[in-house]
């Protein structure tokens, strides 16, 4: 896995006129990693990808691929291949010609190209579709052809711009697995752009979460989920119950936060927020729906929340319980279905409990808009 080529963005700024699309990005992508940029639309993630592939020149900073500065190199001189959001298959060429276009422009003979095309078609399980036109293929097949075409160029880095967004749900889930498998097999660096956190978390070795023009956090899927650096990451990745308040005291990496409506809550200060919180600061406590349980007697008061059931949903693997706390504070709790009847009647009064290590506290800041 470490055989791949690393990509580094150093102090990179991208501007369109006065508009800053990407602000001071610093990213190290390990060789052979499946690396995702996760963010909402318009956050600048596609801009980063276009800069890496060479369609845009950063206003400032450097892009290194395998340690080489890419400044001044056009897209056809970089060891990258981009899979476009709309795939951009050449409509007038047959599938096999599409796949081997990169060889054609290097002057490879038709026989050579056909042979390579057949190998790649085998790999993507489209062996007998080589002589069709792209328009005659289904969505998932086109997807695989686009991947094969990019791989045929033997790039060091494969860039993928939301390639699954046009597919239906079932196919998307299937292609996730397939992409991950292809990446493991070819062992090159994948840089993946998505607004779908499910894709980012399931496929990636590492994820960069982007707020508008800014990278908020880089880390494994688990660390981004469990240990968010900012309020934006905490609210953007996964569901979360958020409680605003002020820091009352800090000890042993935990902070006691006096919330506006829910009393005092004890929560862990995340790695990214360590040192950024002081007593009296505005803070936000985040507790995942699956981090809330029905309280046991022994629970301490600062890990307990009282709430009334408003309604609940049965989801198969779990129950979603929608609750209303003091002063109308809305919360959501997720309970794993273990077979017992756990559907709570609306209006039932519950006392909830959470583990202080599973609740996180970060400085108050921007939230992802739902």
């Amino acid at each position: 896995m470490s055989s791949g080529v690393a990509v580094d963005l150093q102090d990179m700024w991208i501007k369109f006129g006065d508009f800053v699309a990407v602000r001071d990005a610093n990213v190290h992508i390990n060789g052979g990693d499946f690396f995702s940029f996760l963010g909402g639309s318009g956050c600048g993630k596609t801009t980063i990808l276009r800069a890496v592939s060479g369609f845009l020149e950063p206003a400032d900073g450097k892009i290194l691929i395998g340690g080489n500065d890419m400044k001044g190199k056009g897209p056809n001189e970089r060891p990258t291949a981009l899979i476009f959001q709309n795939l951009a298959l050449f409509p007038l060429m047959k599938v096999w010609e599409n796949i081997t276009f990169s060889m054609e422009v290097r002057g490879a003979s038709a026989g050579e190209r056909r042979k390579r095309a057949d190998e790649l078609l085998d790999m993507i399980a489209l062996s007998d579709q080589g002589d069709k036109l792209p328009s005659e293929l289904s969505g998932g097949q086109k997807q695989r052809v686009a991947i094969a075409r990019a791989l045929c160029a033997e790039p060091d880095v494969l860039l993928l711009d939301e390639p699954l967004s046009a597919l239906d749900l079932g196919l998307r889930h299937h292609m996730r697995t397939e992409l991950r498998e292809i990446q493991k097999r070819v062992g090159i660096t994948f840089i993946y752009i998505t607004h779908d956190q499910g894709e980012a978390l399931t496929m990636s070795d590492n994820v960069a979460v982007m707020r508008t023009a800014v990278i908020d956090q880089i880390g494994s899927g688990k660390s981004v989920y469990d240990d968010p650096s900012t309020s934006f990451v905490a609210s953007f990745v996964g569901m979360n119950n958020m409680f605003r308040g002020k820091v009352k005291s800090i000890s042993k990496g935990q902070a006691l936060v006096e919330t506006n409506r829910t009393g005092n809550l004890l929560a862990r200060i995340t790695t990214g927020a360590t040192g950024k919180l002081a007593v009296g600061d505005d803070a936000m406590v985040f507790i995942r729906p699956e981090g809330l349980h029905i309280a046991e007697k022994s629970a301490k008061s600062n890990t307990r929340i009282k709430a009334n059931v408003r309604h609940s949903e049965f989801e198969g693997t779990s129950y979603n319980v929608f609750l209303e706390g003091d002063a109308g504070k809305e919360m959501k709790m997720s309970l794993v279905n273990r077979g017992e009847a756990r559907l709570y009647e609306p209006g039932a009064e519950l006392t909830l409990q959470f583990d202080a290590t599973q609740a996180v506290v970060v400085p108050a800041g921007e939230l992802a808009s739902e």
Binding site: P75, N76, F90, L92, F101, V105
Partner: protein
């Protein structure tokens, strides 16, 4: 669909009939005149069916030379204006957005400038250039074909550009980017990806450019110099009096146009049929199998009929000899003329006899007052001196068994006789 009341449907049919008459009536009429032996393009009076105007057309050096020059000018105009149009359209997609509308206006302007102005200005401009460069007056810069190509391309290139712009609007620039990303140079990406995409637009703009060049008159009239193109030749011909060779040419052009349109329609329908049946397009675009070719394709049937009719007509023209019919027609005409002449002679003789009896003065008063018997009076009105001479010259011929009244009617075919007959007719 709601059924329309009868009067609306009849009105609609009538309107459509009038509309199409207006649209293609002149073409049909002109085509028919190509087969009439009359020496002026006309349908009435119909003389004799003939194909003589076609060989005459092909032996007319001026028309053939005009056709040749038109093809030369058309060929080079297509090359020049399609490439300029393509370059202009590509530029439009590349140019700085704020300049785009200004650029568009400038490049579209030649369409709005009258062709006459373009013609004159081309002539003046290149004459200037020629003079500045110190070339002689018959240098290549003053060559009629060179000037016509440049003059026509000035505005035809704008037409071509419009065609390309329309096509380019549907082009996904992502395709070029994808090609570049896969290692292609800009030239390779253009040649291999964008140009094939533009191929249909190139074909249609080539046709457009050729037709626009072929039919151009108002620019070419100034730029053609010694190289009179077909349109110029035809207009000159009209000035010196036309004959049905022009109709023959028109008929050939109409036929070629219809043939081209039919072939195009057949191809389009074949592709549509293939798509409707789920067959790959490649399976139908090549190869020809008669039953399959005609199946479910009315355009193909019409094309077959059209080609069949053309073969029949050409075959008929080979064996058909209009000479006997022509001879018969000429004889008939001659007989009528003879009768007319005899009638006049008879009249003249009667006149002379009358004058001898009454004297010239009586004749004068009679004409003025119009008294006396109408029959006699009518004879009296043929009084022109030249008629008298004519009558005198043929005095000895004796008109036998000719009714003078009937003979007079026969005369109206001959136009120069009208003057003489008219007063008599009025008298009657």
């Amino acid at each position: 669909m709601i059924k329309q009341p009868l009067y609306i449907r009849i009105g609609l049919a009538l309107y459509l009939f009038m509309f199409f008459t207006y649209l293609i009536g002149p073409l049909i009429l002109m085509s028919i005149t190509a087969f009439n032996s009359a020496s002026f393009p006309q349908i009435t009076p119909w003389e004799v069916l003939t194909f003589e105007w076609f060989p005459k057309l092909f032996s007319d050096d001026r028309i053939l030379r005009g056709l040749k020059y038109s093809l030369y000018v058309g060929f080079f105009t297509v090359i020049l204006s399609v490439s300029m149009g393509l370059a202009g359209a590509l530029m439009l997609t590349q140019i700085w957005p704020k300049l785009r509308s200004t650029y568009y206006t400038i490049i579209i302007a030649p369409i709005l400038v009258p062709g006459v102005v373009i013609g004159i200005s081309t002539l003046v401009f290149w004459a200037e250039i020629n003079r500045i460069l110190g070339f002689s007056a018959d240098s290549y810069l003053q060559n009629g074909i060179f000037l016509s190509v440049l003059g026509q391309s000035t505005f035809i290139a704008s037409y071509c550009m419009l065609v390309f712009v329309a096509r380019l609007q549907r082009y996904d620039t992502g395709l070029t980017e994808a090609a570049l990303d896969l290692g292609a140079t800009h030239l390779q990406a253009f040649r291999r990806i964008q140009l094939p995409f533009l191929a249909p637009a190139m074909a249609s703009s080539s046709v457009l450019a050729f037709l626009a060049s072929f039919e151009n008159y108002n620019t070419t009239i100034f730029t053609h110099q010694k190289f009179a193109t077909l349109t110029i030749v035809l207009s000159q011909k009209v000035r010196y009096g036309i004959d049905p060779t022009i109709s023959a040419l028109a008929f050939i052009i109409v036929c070629l146009t219809v043939l081209g349109a039919l072939i195009h329609e057949v191809r389009t329908r074949r592709v549509q049929l293939a798509l409707a049946n789920g067959a790959p397009v490649g399976a139908v675009t090549g190869g020809f199998k008669a039953p399959k070719f005609f199946a479910g394709n009315p355009a193909a049937v019409v094309l077959g009929l059209f080609v069949g009719a053309a073969v029949l007509i050409i075959g008929f023209a080979q064996v058909y000899d209009p000479a006997p019919a022509k001879q018969a027609y000429t004889d008939q005409k001659r007989a009528i003329q003879k009768k007319a002449i005899e009638a006049i002679q008879q009249k003249a003789r009667d006149k002379v006899r009358e004058r001898q009896m009454k004297g010239p003065k009586v004749f004068e008063t009679k004409k003025g007052t119009g008294t006396g018997s109408p029959g006699k009076d009518s004879f009296g009105s043929v009084f022109k001196p030249n008629n008298l001479d004519e009558a005198a010259g043929t005095k000895k011929k004796k008109p036998v068994g000719v009714n003078p009244g009937k003979g007079a009617f026969g005369n109206i075919w001959k136009s120069d006789n009208l003057d003489k007959v008219a007063p008599k007719e009025k008298g009657n």
